[in-house]
């Protein structure tokens, strides 16, 4: 994944590129715009020769639209005056809680609604069922930070305050990290080494009773060739802390400035993200980006959990992490080391 960005940077800084569309991770959007490598999409949508009148931009899930598409607002990566559209979501996601209905029923457990219950139930499941309570990413670097941010947001914390002063190490930051430590203590063995693949596998193979991660996980859960827990999984909202705040992230499609055939690129982009195509892809197991797809009766019949997902999207927080140029470094080299060291017990979480 890391290597993809290098390649894209090199590719898009050539005088003339070989790609007319570029699939990026949400974190990179600000950097690509700042380095003048991608172009705004509005002129293309304004071009009657290109724009599809039935496209319906408003139908795109607003939080995805803001999170992946907008750059240039007052906070840079959020909506607001000055923000322009540079990309469209294509594989976006938010966080939901997957849980094992069978295990919860067996021990007569209620699905945790808030972080107090969430914390308590970890130990209960571990003791009663003998398997990991909650599986989680935990590998040093962006993986463990991602998991920590999942808890930090609803607990009311943030990496920076509104004046861009670091606050990740305040009381809430410590609380979130301690929660994470309990997740490791009660979870499947080896979480501090888990990437997303290992975290997934633990749940799919029945080694963990819960998994708080992305909506995009649903495809794997329902695939009998990869999952041993098909039919036993329930979905719930990301538990509430002082507020509800689920994650926002995923992939988007943008158009490099050095594209050789920008019009063709736009047409493809428009088609890929159109209503019909979104529904078709979703039915094949893809992640929808449109409200119309989320609400489509046929789709909901196929994926009953979309009812919960749609609810979760209401709480998806576009300011879930700061999408600034320095974020990669803070994420991987600073927080990624510190959180990891807390998970192995090398260092204790404490306030500064």
């Amino acid at each position: 994944m890391g290597r993809l960005k290098e390649k894209q940077l090199l590719e898009m800084s050539k005088p003339q590129g070989d790609y007319d569309l570029c699939c990026y991770i949400v974190m990179w959007k600000g950097e690509y715009v700042a380095k003048n490598l991608v172009q705004p999409l509005e002129p293309y949508f304004a071009n009657v020769a290109l724009a599809d009148p039935a496209y319906d931009v408003k139908d795109i899930i607003p939080i995805y639209y803001e999170n992946l598409g907008l750059v240039g607002g007052p906070k840079g990566y959020l909506a607001g005056p000055g923000a322009k559209l540079y990309g469209l979501p294509y594989g976006a996601e938010t966080s939901v809680l997957a849980y094992r209905k069978d295990i919860f029923a067996k021990h007569n457990l209620a699905v945790p609604e808030n972080y107090d219950d969430f914390l308590k139930i970890l130990r209960v499941i571990k003791d009663k069922e003998g398997i990991g309570a909650l599986t989680s990413r935990g590998q040093a670097g962006h993986q463990c930070v991602h998991a920590w941010l999942l808890h930090l947001n609803p607990l009311g914390g943030a990496v920076f305050d509104d004046q861009w002063r670091p606050r990740f190490n305040d009381k809430v930051g410590v609380q979130a990290l301690k929660f994470f430590q309990e997740v490791v203590a009660t979870g499947p063995a080896g979480i501090p080494g888990y990437g997303q693949g290992e975290a997934n596998t633990a749940f799919l193979q029945g080694q963990a009773a819960m998994y708080l991660d992305s909506t995009s996980f649903v495809g794997l859960v329902n695939d009998p060739s990869k999952s041993k827990v098909v039919g036993n999984v329930g979905w719930a909202l990301h538990p509430r802390g002082v507020k509800r705040a689920s994650q926002s992230g995923g992939l988007g499609l943008t158009m490099p400035k050095n594209a050789k055939h920008p019009e063709a690129g736009f047409l493809l982009l428009q088609w890929l993200t159109s209503k019909a195509q979104d529904k078709a892809v979703t039915k094949q197991g893809g992640a929808p980006i449109r409200n119309s797809t989320m609400e489509d009766a046929e789709v909901v019949k196929q994926y009953p959990e979309f009812v919960v997902f749609k609810e979760a999207l209401k709480y998806s927080n576009p300011d879930w992490r700061p999408i600034i140029a320095e974020w990669d470094e803070i994420n991987i080299q600073a927080l990624g080391v510190a959180v990891s060291e807390a998970l192995t017990g090398k260092k204790a979480p404490r306030r500064r």
Partner: protein
């Protein structure tokens, strides 16, 4: 310089020049880049002269020294284990001529696997829940371990993966070296009263000292540059426990977007590798046997 040597120099000059340029250009450009602040994806014209800042960072940043220390430990442990195991295997199997062909082709496999695949394979093997290593440990009556979840175990894991991948290289080099040893010298040693251990340590291995030295140097250089396997296996963690210098350089360059600092650190790495290579070559001086030759 007589006429003959001058003509000789003329003949090799183009090759020497090309070699020098090919060897020095990347080094010099790394040094050059070290003096600038520049970010990938921006035009070079926007690069800012930064003077010695990057080198200062390279030499004062604790994480640089930590990762250098990690690299030293990694190289020392894995390369010495590879040398010992590779030599032992070669000695054990060299006489078994029929088995040899089989083992040689078997042992060559790990080296041919792409480093990313090696990393992935070992990541599965070390998996705490489903990994083969823990399965074997449990079958043998030991407790399963969180291999990639604990600092010391993760460090052991990257070493084990490296040993698995590179012991065969040592093995093949040593086997090739031993194949060139005049067997009558070994017979002379037997007649002189040397038993297996003495023949091995005082005759056989000294006779391939130059091969051992070259092998050692090649392994050391490689061990200092190891990146992909660790990237995939641990990404430097837990904490920074497996963050070797090349991974640190990678992160500095492509995650921290500090290409200048990354270049400065890679110059540091280059210097360390050169010093170590020089030491290793001196220790086992492969040229010594040629003293007074001609």
């Amino acid at each position: 310089m007589n006429d003959n040597t001058r003509t000789g120099w003329l003949f090799v000059a183009p090759a020497v020049v090309i070699m020098l340029v090919a060897c020095l250009y990347p080094v010099l450009s790394a040094v050059h880049l070290g003096f600038y602040e520049w970010s990938m994806g921006t035009p070079w014209s926007e690069a800012k002269w930064a003077g010695w800042t990057s080198f200062q960072i390279a030499f004062t940043e604790p994480s640089v020294w930590r990762s250098l220390w990690t690299t030293l430990k990694f190289a020392a442990v894995s390369v010495s284990a590879e040398m010992v195991l590779g030599i032992a295997l070669a000695l054990a199997l060299e006489s078994n001529l029929r088995g040899m062909a089989f083992f040689r082709s078997l042992f060559i496999l790990p080296m041919m696997v792409a480093p990313i695949a090696v990393g992935l394979t070992w990541r599965y093997m070390f998996d705490a829940q489903f990994g083969l290593i823990n399965a074997v440990l449990v079958a043998l009556g030991f407790a399963a371990k969180g291999w990639l979840a604990e600092e010391s175990l993760a460090f052991a894991a990257i070493i084990i993966a490296d040993i698995w991948q590179w012991t065969p290289f040592v093995f093949i080099m040593v086997v090739a070296g031993l194949a060139n040893v005049d067997s009558s010298v070994l017979e002379a040693a037997r007649i002189d009263g040397a038993r297996w251990w003495t023949v091995t340590t005082r005759v056989k291995l000294p006779m391939i000292a130059h091969v051992l030295a070259i092998t050692l140097v090649m392994r050391l250089i490689d061990a200092f540059r190891v990146l992909e396997v660790i990237y995939v296996l641990t990404f430097g963690g837990p904490g920074e426990s497996t963050e070797v210098l090349s991974l640190h350089i990678y992160k500095t360059a492509f995650i921290g977007q500090k290409l200048g600092a990354a270049s400065a650190i890679s110059v540091l790495l280059l210097v360390v590798v050169m010093v170590l290579t020089w030491l290793a070559l001196r220790m086992s001086n492969p040229m010594r046997d040629n003293e007074g030759d001609r």
